[in-house]
Point group: none
Chain length 243, copies 2
Amino acid sequence: MVLSHTTHPGNIGAAARAMKTMGLGRLYLINPRHFPDPQATAMAAGADDILQDAVVCSSIDEALQGVTFTVAMTARLRDISIAVQTPREAMPQVLQQAQTAAVALLFGTEMSGLTNEEMGKAQLGVNIPANPEFSSLNIAAAVQVMAYELSAAAQSFVSALPELQPAPHERVEGLYAHLEKTLFEIGFFTTQNPARLMQRLRRLFARTRLEDEEINILRGILTVATEYNARLKRRYQEEHKDV
Amino acid sequence: MVLSHTTHPGNIGAAARAMKTMGLGRLYLINPRHFPDPQATAMAAGADDILQDAVVCSSIDEALQGVTFTVAMTARLRDISIAVQTPREAMPQVLQQAQTAAVALLFGTEMSGLTNEEMGKAQLGVNIPANPEFSSLNIAAAVQVMAYELSAAAQSFVSALPELQPAPHERVEGLYAHLEKTLFEIGFFTTQNPARLMQRLRRLFARTRLEDEEINILRGILTVATEYNARLKRRYQEEHKDV
């Protein structure tokens, strides 16, 4: 990441933090107004190593030395000399280039972005699509988006979805039977159509894909509800044989 | 976007800016430590309208009133009760849900994220894949990534109307409260840990996305079960005043 003429040191710190969260490390600063600076350190919130290793340069050519592919961030889509893509479109090419040599993502100053001269050093422009009426991303936010896209493209995300282990058919059917029996016992079907109601409940549980332990919990509830009832009923009937 | 217990007002401003750059507008703040605040305004850098229209709430239930689908941001992948996806995986579902009703993206406090109780209000978790050794994204950076992904997904989103019409947050919470009360009344909690059990039941129903009529059915069952128990108990106690 190459930040050119950054005005606010807090933005440098926030950019370092954004980079580190996405596993990136190499930060180059072209003529930052204040650096090092306590505000940069504060906003880095633990990404101090990135700030310590940051390379301060006095010109863009110094920063891009050894780089073979430079991507210029731009808020403009027209009147620039290079092709402009979205971050997502650009990443495969960025990764391709990065396999064999150094690639730079170049960010301009807060107020006005990159100069035409700086743009001229890049092989590709990238525009983060934004609200046409309010398109000014904070520079650290732009670094975050680009680092995130780079990381996403690099990993081609492996899902973190905790695998659900749905219970087998017969277990689910066992629950339905238990549920229907319980609803009869507690007198729920006196006012409801049993077939239609059970269909509704099946639909609900079909969507949720019940796990074994969840079926145990639900059947436990049904059992307690019925046992308690049965216990009371039995004792009541023992005492009232005429009822 | 719902930010819970945000500590630093600058983060609220930066989040508002991030939202506005991506064309989003509705910001809810649950008990922010300082708001309104000059630092929030400074960091909003022109997104003042979002701050002015921000709704300050005193509880998560107030913030989520009328919401039918809540996405909880989490840095954890394990030990949480709901499914977790990457932002990119989650967006089609978020957009799908947002077609017909209000959707909330829920962000926790800077230091520790969302509480388990807050997580329990959500139907889906989203984790921004990050450097395992430095995974703490700034909250405004996380808002920027989510808003960016939402905007990117919206551009390629093909509408398919959902067949389900999920009930709003407050109706689902009403069911949980009714269920918990009933489980106490029928004596289920004598052998089970109530908090853990309710978390399991929340997880189950979070997956199923209950409809209004289904909540009516389930609450009807609970009501009948309780009445039935109470009736038996009363009659039994009347006959056994010595018990």
